[in-house]
Each structure stands twice: as C-alpha cells, then as structure tokens.
Symmetry: C2
Subunit: 118 residues, 2 copies
C-alpha cells in the first residue's frame, strides 16, 4: 500500500488519539499535501522538528493498529462486501425476473453504501 | 444494550490498550462471570479494589469509543450487512432460476461470514 494511503487510513481510525498539535500537522502533510518547509514556517519550528513529529505520529498510529488490528478487520470486511457487490451485479445482469430485480438492486445499493463508508 | 454485552464488545475492540493486570481481571468479570469476592481472594486485593479496577477499565474503554467511534461504525456496517442477508434470503426463497441460485447462496454465505466475525 502506498505510504500516504496507509497514513490516511490509520489517521481515520486512530487520529483522535493524537494531540491537537500532532493532528493538525499530520493532516497538513497527509491530507493537504503541504511540504515540511511550509509547515515549519507556519508553526515556527524547524523542518527537522516537523519530520520528527510526523515520524512519531506514524509510529504511534502503527502501534495502535498493531495492538487493535481494527484497520485489518475493516479491510477484511470491506473485501467480503466487495465480493457481495460483484455477485449482486452479476445477478442483476443475468436476471430477467422483475420480482427479483428490486431486491437485487437493494443489495447493490447497500453494499455501495458500506464500501463508501471507508 | 445490556451492560455486560457493552463491556464485552468494548473489550473486544479496545481491550489490548489495557494493562495485562487490567485485562486479566476485566476478563474474569466480563467473560468468566467470576464474582468480585472470588477475584479479590485470587489476586490478594480487596473487593473494593476489584470494583474500582473494573470501573476504571469501563471508563477507559468508553473513552476510547467516545474518541474513535469504531464500535459504532462496525455496528452500522453490521446492520447493513444484516439487511443484505435478509434480502438475499428472500431472493433465495422466491427464485426458481438455477443459474442465479449459486450466486444468491454465495451472498447469503458471505454475509454470514461477516456477521459471525463480530
């Protein structure tokens, strides 16, 4: 997984366990694509300080995941829901019975809603 | 939700963030249905000490949920998967097309697998 994708998922799950200061700077880097130098200027700290803070946050977030494995659990579920969605779309294509169509559509839509949650 | 059900779900999600000592005693109470007095004897602490420890663990686990809301998120997902399962079972009952049957069964089974994960 690309590093920034991993960082954003971990932050979505465990970000609230960081301090406000850590959250702000982590967000600037991971979601707002700011450079270390820009943040250093903005926060009045050194570029190395920003780098160290991001490293520390990465480690904190990874440690939570190591203990709780909730990202892993969610992703397993998501994979299974994606399978359901594929099956439902295939059903939709091969079904010609109007009485079944609404239920098949509802399965496709519900699986969509779950997958969009992540 | 019954208190002990809530405690066991919160422990499943965030229990690894407690200390070993807290985890052991919390498990004894929540999963092994031991009494405060039994644990007090076993651990060589007072009954009040056990009570306080459980209270403290309850608070710690609730605080994690307040911040992260991952139990809530999982339960929403679970509710939607239960809807999918109901729809798939209804499809199964009203379907007479053999070509669709395997896919419907696979949806029922996959939704089962997700619901049993929790």
């Amino acid at each position: 997984m690309e590093k920034i994708v991993r960082q954003s998922i971990l932050f979505d799950f465990y970000g609230e366990l960081l301090t406000e200061h850590q959250k702000n700077i982590y967000r600037d880097i991971v979601f707002d694509d700011m450079s270390y130098s820009e943040i250093a200027d903005l926060e009045g700290i050194s570029r190395q300080g920003v780098y160290d803070l991001i490293k520390r946050c990465d480690r904190i977030l990874e440690e939570y995941e190591e203990k709780l494995k909730l990202v892993e659990k969610f992703q397993n579920t998501k994979g299974m829901v994606a399978n359901i969605q594929t099956l439902a779309k295939e059903l939709k294509e091969s079904n010609s019975n109007k009485a079944l169509a609404d239920k098949i559509d509802a399965i496709v839509q519900t699986s969509n809603a779950i997958l969009e949650e992540y």
